[in-house]
C-alpha cells in the first residue's frame, strides 16, 4: 500500500516537471481547462512521467479521463486500475 503523503508529494513533482509554469500552490487545483499548456501532448508527457514515477502502466483508454490533478491522483491511488 502506497503512503498517501508520499504519493501526493511524488505526484506534485510529476506535475511540476510536466507543467513548469505552475506554482506549488496551483498544482493541486490544476485542470486541463485551467492550465494553458495542458493539451493532449502534455497529457502524454504527464502520463509517461507518472508511469515512471509510480512504476505503473496507464492504459491509453484512460487518458481522456485524466484531465485534472484530482483525476490523476484518484487513478494513482486506485491500485486496481493501475497495472503494475
Amino acid at each position: 500500500m502506497m503512503n498517501p503523503i508520499n504519493v501526493q508529494s511524488q505526484l506534485d513533482e510529476c506535475f511540476a516537471v510536466a507543467f513548469p509554469e505552475l506554482s506549488a500552490a496551483e498544482i493541486p487545483q490544476a485542470t486541463m481547462e485551467s492550465v494553458e499548456m495542458w493539451d493532449s501532448l502534455a497529457t502524454l508527457t504527464l502520463v509517461s512521467v507518472v508511469e515512471e514515477t509510480f512504476q505503473i502502466r496507464i492504459p491509453l483508454d484512460e487518458l481522456p479521463n485524466l484531465i485534472s490533478y484530482a483525476a490523476v491522483s484518484d487513478f494513482v491511488n486506485c491500485p486496481s486500475r493501475a497495472a503494475a
Binding site: E13, C14, A16, V17, A18, P20, L41, L44, T45, S48, V49, E52, T53, L60
Partner: protein, 580 residues
C-alpha cells in the same frame, strides 16, 4: 535517462536570459519525448548555455530538412524511420503489403533516398548534422517464412546501408553507430505500437532516451582524452617480468593471455592516431628495457614514451610523465592491475582517470577496450596526429640540452610556416582542445567556426613548425577580425608541444606585418589553466594582463620581443602590407 529527469534538467536551466543555442530535430514522426530527451542531453553536454530544439512538420522529413537549409540551426539531429522513405513501410498507412507492391517500393526508395541524401548534404554545408538511420523493425509485409530473410527487405536495407556510407563521407555529417545503439537499446524493445498508432510517436521512452543520447553525443562530442599511462606486469603483458623472466611473460592464445595482446594492439592503434602512450611500472629498468625489446611485442616500444620503470611510487612516475607530455592529469587515463597503485596515483592526481586492468577476466577486458575506444575516439585522424610522440620526444631532448637557450634556438634550424584563411579540421581541433596557451579558453562549435570563415573581415592563421629534431606539424591557430588600424584577436592557441621555441613571438610579428596595424587587441580571459598565455603576455606587456581586451602595440612588441631565429615561410607573402 528517465523522462522525469529530462524534464527536470530542462526546467532547471530554463531561467537564463541568454539567447539559447538553436538546434533542429528533423524527423517525420511526432517528436514528443524524443525532443525532450534530446534537449536534456544537449543541455547536459553544454552546461553553460541554453538550448532550444526546434521541430518541423509531421510526416515531412525532407521538407523539414529543406526548410532548415534556408535558416540553418547550430546543429541538426536527423531521425529517419522507414515511413519517411515510403509510407508503405510504416504502420500508419495500411496499404502496400501485397506482393505486387514490393518491386515498386524498392524502386521508389531509390528516388526518395537520392532526395534525402541531396537535402542532407546541402544542409551540411552550413551546419553539423547527426543522422540516425531507421531503428525500428520493418512491418510484417514480406512473404518469406518466419526466420528467413526476404529479398525485398534485404534490398531495402542494402539501399539504406549505401546511404549511410555516402552520408558518412560527406563533410560535417555523422551517422549514429547502429552497433552502439543496439547495445544500449535492444531492437526488440524500441517500438511502441500503441503510441505510434494513436499519436505518431513510435518509440518506447527507453529507446527515445538512448537515441537522443547518441544524437547529442554526435552533435556535441566529448573532448577526446590525450594520453594513456599503462602498467606492464599483468597489464601490458601477463606475468611478472622480474620473476617470470623476459621469456616467461606472454600475450597469446596458447597461454590464454590473448586479452593482453588485444590491449597492446589497442595501444598501438592509439599511438597511430596521436594518443600519447607511456609506461609507469615498479620494476628493474634494465629488465623492462629487455622485455620491451622483444620482437613479438605488438605495440612498438618506440611508441611508448616516456617509460618510467623504477621502484618509486607510481604517483611520482605519473608526475614525470605528465611533465614530459606537458598536459594535465584530467586528459589522461592510468591503467594498472593493482587497486593499491591506482589509489596511490589517484590520491596524488584526483583528476586522473584511473582504470583497473581486469586480470583473468577476458569479458571485462573487452569491455574496458570498448570504454577506452570511446574515451580516445576521434571523428577524424589528421596527418599531424602521428607526429605527436616524436615531437614530445624532441621537446624532451630540447629541454635536456637547454643550457644556453639562445645558442640552442639559433642552431635548431627551425622553420615556421604560416597558412592564411585555409582552416582545416585540425585548426578547430586545436582551438577546442588546447588549454594552457589559450587566449581565453573559449571553445567554438563547428557552426560558429564555419560562419566566421565566411565573414570577409575575419581571418584565420594556421601555423606549422619543424626543426632539426622533428616536424611538429600544425601547432598554433589564431583567428580574429581586421578593422582599420586595429586587429582584433578573438582566439589564439599554441600546442604545449611547441612551447619554448618563440613561435608565439613569430606569430605576433606575422600579424603586425600582414595587416600593417599598429595595435593588436587580444580578447584575453584568465582561466584556471592558461598560465602560459598569461606569462607570455606579462613578459611582452611588462605587466600582468587582466581579463578583457588587452592592447599590444607594435612599439611595445618590438621593444620586448626576443631574438627570433626561425626561418618563416608564408603561403601569401604578397599580402604583407608593412614590414615589421
Amino acid at each position: 535517462m528517465l523522462l522525469f529527469d529530462a524534464l527536470k534538467t530542462i526546467r532547471a536551466r530554463s531561467t537564463g536570459d541568454e539567447e539559447p543555442i538553436r538546434f533542429s530535430l528533423l524527423c517525420g514522426l511526432t517528436p514528443l519525448h524524443l525532443r525532450t530527451f534530446l534537449t536534456a542531453e544537449l543541455l547536459q553536454r553544454m552546461p553553460a548555455q541554453g538550448v532550444d530544439v526546434q521541430i518541423g512538420l509531421f510526416g515531412d522529413l525532407i521538407g523539414n530538412i529543406e526548410r532548415s537549409i534556408e535558416s540553418p540551426p547550430n546543429g541538426a539531429a536527423v531521425v529517419i524511420e522507414w515511413s519517411d522513405l515510403d509510407a508503405r513501410l510504416g504502420f500508419r498507412s495500411a496499404f502496400g503489403w501485397r506482393p505486387n507492391c514490393m518491386a515498386d517500393i524498392v524502386q521508389s526508395l531509390t528516388l526518395r533516398i537520392g532526395q534525402l541524401r541531396n537535402a542532407l548534404v546541402q544542409l551540411a554545408e552550413s551546419t553539423p548534422i547527426a543522422v540516425s538511420m531507421p531503428t525500428l523493425p520493418l512491418p510484417p509485409m514480406f512473404t518469406a517464412p518466419g526466420g528467413s530473410a526476404d529479398i525485398t527487405a534485404l534490398q531495402i536495407r542494402h539501399q539504406l546501408q549505401d546511404l549511410s556510407i555516402q552520408l558518412h563521407a560527406a563533410n560535417r555529417i555523422r551517422v549514429v553507430d547502429p552497433q552502439r545503439l543496439d547495445a544500449v537499446s535492444p531492437p526488440g524493445e524500441r517500438f511502441d505500437a500503441a503510441s505510434e498508432l494513436r499519436s505518431g510517436f513510435p518509440y518506447t521512452n527507453q529507446h527515445a532516451s538512448a537515441l537522443a543520447s547518441q544524437l547529442a553525443e554526435l552533435l556535441r562530442p566529448a573532448t577526446a582524452l590525450k594520453g594513456l599511462i599503462t602498467d606492464l606486469d599483468n597489464t601490458l603483458w601477463s606475468g611478472i617480468v622480474g620473476e617470470d623472466g623476459v621469456d616467461g611473460i606472454s600475450w597469446d592464445l596458447d597461454r590464454h593471455t590473448q586479452q593482453h595482446a588485444l590491449y597492446q594492439e589497442m595501444l598501438a592503434s592509439f599511438a597511430e592516431i596521436g594518443v600519447l602512450v607511456a609506461v609507469a611500472s615498479r620494476n628493474d629498468p634494465a629488465v623492462v628495457g629487455e622485455a620491451l625489446r622483444r620482437r613479438d611485442l605488438i605495440v612498438p616500444a618506440e611508441k611508448l614514451f616516456p617509460v618510467e620503470a623504477n621502484w618509486g611510487p607510481k604517483s611520482q612516475s605519473v608526475a614525470r610523465i605528465l611533465q614530459a607530455w606537458n598536459i594535465s592529469a584530467d586528459s589522461v587515463v592510468f591503467i594498472d592491475d593493482s587497486p593499491i597503485e591506482l589509489a596511490e596515483a589517484s590520491a596524488a592526481f584526483p583528476e586522473l582517470n584511473c582504470r583497473q586492468f581486469p586480470v583473468d577476466d577476458e569479458a571485462a577486458v573487452v569491455e574496458l577496450l570498448y570504454e577506452l575506444r570511446d574515451l580516445f575516439g576521434r571523428t577524424s585522424v589528421v596527418s599531424d596526429d602521428s607526429l605527436r610522440i616524436e615531437s614530445i620526444r624532441a621537446a624532451s631532448e630540447l629541454k635536456s640540452q637547454e643550457t644556453d637557450s639562445e645558442a640552442f634556438l639559433a642552431a635548431a634550424d627551425a622553420e615556421i610556416s604560416f597558412e592564411w584563411n585555409q582552416p582545416d579540421e585540425r585548426c578547430l581541433q586545436l582551438v577546442n582542445k588546447t588549454n594552457q596557451f589559450n587566449l581565453n579558453g573559449r571553445r567554438i562549435d563547428e557552426f560558429t567556426w564555419h560562419r566566421q570563415q565566411q565573414d570577409p573581415e575575419c581571418f584565420v592563421l594556421a601555423v606549422s613548425y619543424r626543426d632539426r629534431f622533428a616536424p611538429l606539424g600544425k601547432i598554433s591557430v589564431v583567428s580574429g577580425r581586421h578593422s582599420e588600424s586595429t586587429l582584433y584577436v578573438d582566439s589564439w592557441v599554441l600546442s604545449c608541444r611547441a612551447f619554448s621555441r618563440r613561435i608565439e613571438h613569430a606569430v605576433l610579428a606575422a600579424l603586425f606585418q600582414r595587416f600593417g596595424v599598429d595595435r593588436l587587441q587580444l580578447d584575453f580571459a584568465a582561466t584556471s589553466r592558461n598560465g602560459p598565455m598569461r606569462t607570455c603576455l606579462t613578459e611582452l606587456l611588462g605587466t600582468e594582463p587582466v581579463s578583457g581586451p588587452v592592447d599590444l602595440t607594435r612599439e611595445i612588441f618590438q621593444n620586448n620581443c626576443p631574438n627570433l631565429y626561425a626561418r618563416v615561410s608564408d603561403d601569401e607573402p604578397d599580402q604583407c602590407s608593412i614590414a615589421a
